[in-house]
Amino acid sequence: MSWIDIGHIDDIPLRGARKIKTSHGCVALFRTGVDEVFAASDACPHKGGPLSEGIVHGQSITCPLHNWVFDLNTGQAKDLAPGEEGHIATYPVRLDEGRILIEGAKLASRSAA
């Protein structure tokens, strides 16, 4: 595994998010109410809303455009209407003494889709 240091946990507001740029688009980093960090695609599968601008609650994120809610553990959208589908890619991140490390291999290999 190749872990890339992308910043300090305090660079992300508590219950907030920041994004990082990759060559395949933006990845959002979410910090929850306790000091834990999740990484997932920044683009909502509904209509492309920027998830890093949403509200972080529990271990979920609500999209700012039309309020779809995603579980940050799995990337799965919650409580969708029947027939609706929604999933965002998630990426391994870990914290080491406050530094946020993201796994580079999965980032690089992800498809542009």
Binding site: P13, L14, H57, G58
Partner: protein, 809 residues
Amino acid sequence: MKKLVVIGAGMASGRVLEHLTDADPDAYEITLFNAETRGNYNRIMLSPVLSGEKTYAEIVTHDSDWYAARNVDCRFGEQIVGIDRETKTVMGEHGPVPYDKLIIATGSAPFIIPVPGKDLPGVISYRDLDDTNAMIEASAKGGNAVVIGGGLLGLEAAAGLALRGMSVTVVHLNGHLMERQLDEAAGYLLRKDLEAKGISVRTQATTRAIIGDGRAEAVLLEGDETLPADLVVMAVGIRPETRLATDAGLEVARGIEVNAQMQTSDSDIYAVGECVEFDGNLFGLVAPLYDQAKVLAHALLDEADAFVVKDVATKLKVTGCDLFSAGDFAEGEGREDIVFRDPARGIYKRLVIEGDKLVGAVMYGDTADGTWFFGLIKDETEIDDMRETLIFGPAFQGGDTADPLSAVAALPRDAEVCGCNGICKGTITDAIANGATDLAAIRATTKASASCGTCTGLVEQVLQVTLGDEFVLPTAQPVCGCCDLTHEDVRRLIKSQELKSQEAVWQELGWKTRNGCHVCRPAINFYLLADWPVEYRDDPQSRFVNERKHANIQKDGTFSVVPRMWGGITNPDELRAIADAADKYNVPTVKVTGGQRIDLLGVKGEDLPAIWADLNKAGMVSGHAYSKGLRTVKTCVGTDHCRFGTQDSTGLGIKLEQVLWGSWTPHKVKLGVSGCPRNCAESTCKDVGIICVDSGYQIGVAGAAGMDLMETQRLCDVATEQEAIDVTVAFVQLYRENAKYLDRTYKWVAKVGLDWVQERIADPAERARLIAAFELSQSIYRKDPWAEHAQTQAAQYQPLADLTLEAAE
């Protein structure tokens, strides 16, 4: 016989000696050095000694008879100053002593924050009996103590000093107490209990210096506040005591590095206790040290054994603060929470599950099941079958659920339920006892819920709590799935129970989630800042992106930016600045809005701080075009130019906008001021619409022209401009204090009745109170959010990192 030398007579080496001499009393000739002038005692019981609940004699674990019986040569009060590995000798203050095997068990040293004044007399750390005695002596004179550090040690010191009669303040850097062991919710309850013991707690407080002439007199905080202090206890953390090992050339990382047999990089030298580092781990609690001690005793006797790191559980030894935390409840991915709160009994429990295992537990108030949960964590028990009822503990496998009424049951008798008539819970329960067993009877006998009616839900819940099954509770719509209360109930309880933080609301009102959701959090954030403008700080992370970034998000993720144009009046300089900004930031669309101002649409998120800074430079502030707050005040040209104008409608509109701007409201608030009944400013469909007439001003309220078209209703007529402003401010404040989040004024007025609103505004004392309350809030919120963001938070608008190069490789 082989010679064993032990440096440090602490809790870890004490255990080693017990195991070793029990197993084989004749294996080694032992010499024990200790820098302290005494042998082994139970260090973790220093807090009961400090508080007076125990004496030193009661916590001694090894006395002179014990050492004598085991032939341990005790050299207490003598520090080791060096280790010579060539000759295998240690250097004591009174001469060298040779060893065959050596144990370093020097524990840790308190961390002293490097601020001016740290060395003044009166500044004490908390590690050993001498420190404890020094605190006891200092507290005999009473006075003020400041404890720096709100972790385990700091809080035990604070509680002890408070019991000894000092007035104690805890200064803590983090947002909540014991952040390494507790989450915010448990930290909130702990703080509440400590405050009930008279200890003041200052979180998010940074110490800048300790000041005093010849001895400590005060602690200076960031922000220039000083706290008087006759005694300062520094308890901000510990650092492994590794100096001897470093000087001797042993491998040292943060602690002295050891293998699973507690052996250092020199095979004849062992280390044990808080001074070691094993596999990247440091240790600060005794449980793992006892495991280490057993392994080390085995190693010294050439018996196979290996140390493994296990989870540890924490308890705080402060009477009345019942907390428990174990395992890993914070960092990590793939986790799920189970939360239980019982506000009536001040209980909070949170379990953290990963896959089908329990990995962490935090509890406050009722920790009886702590050991059971800790067992599940340590044994990695599969908990799938018990998941539903797990949180209720071993006794309740199958029973009990949270009581939705517990928040109301927890209310004290003097908690105000009906704000209009000042009726407390006790008055209502008394009325019920006297035979008023339904809402109508309560209204008739006490007047509770007989005015605006927003407390009806609460009164019904008091009936239910008091009468039980005899009263059938009508079903009311809760705020969201996170709780059982309606918006109105939550608002009343925030006021009557003086809940001043989100954590207080989550706990005292029995929230079922860790920190709400996108539905309730913005509402609670608004209620808190509207009711406690000074005590509560607005939380941007509980706001919709538009309010957080002070710009309106577009469907493509860009933003629109609208500067304020007071009363719709602008000038060439402003227009030029807007044009320049549009050019500079490649704004694709510039539009005149329906609210008499100019919208710059399609601005990139990264450019927001810069475009705001440019607009600010030209004197323009945010138009809050996105906010549940004051939007625009639409005006017509009035007496300035129009042949029909009766009053200065433009001037009044500008004044109103300047008084009201920046204020947050339950939903958006729009105003219009027209110079005559021809009504060119469309005042008759605004939240507050004023129509100027010869005799003064007709004030209408509760209009709208969005999803519902509502004509304003006449609130009152006034003669002077100042009165028109006063009535408007009082109305907006009444709306802020009482309405449900996301009710426009027309919905709220329909619920409480125009009569009720009119009565309140007409009452001179109430009107003055409303105006004063609004002004107090505005002293904080009538500030341009753009300026603040552009100066202090610009970095947050940029990507955290740019990996376009790395990821391409």
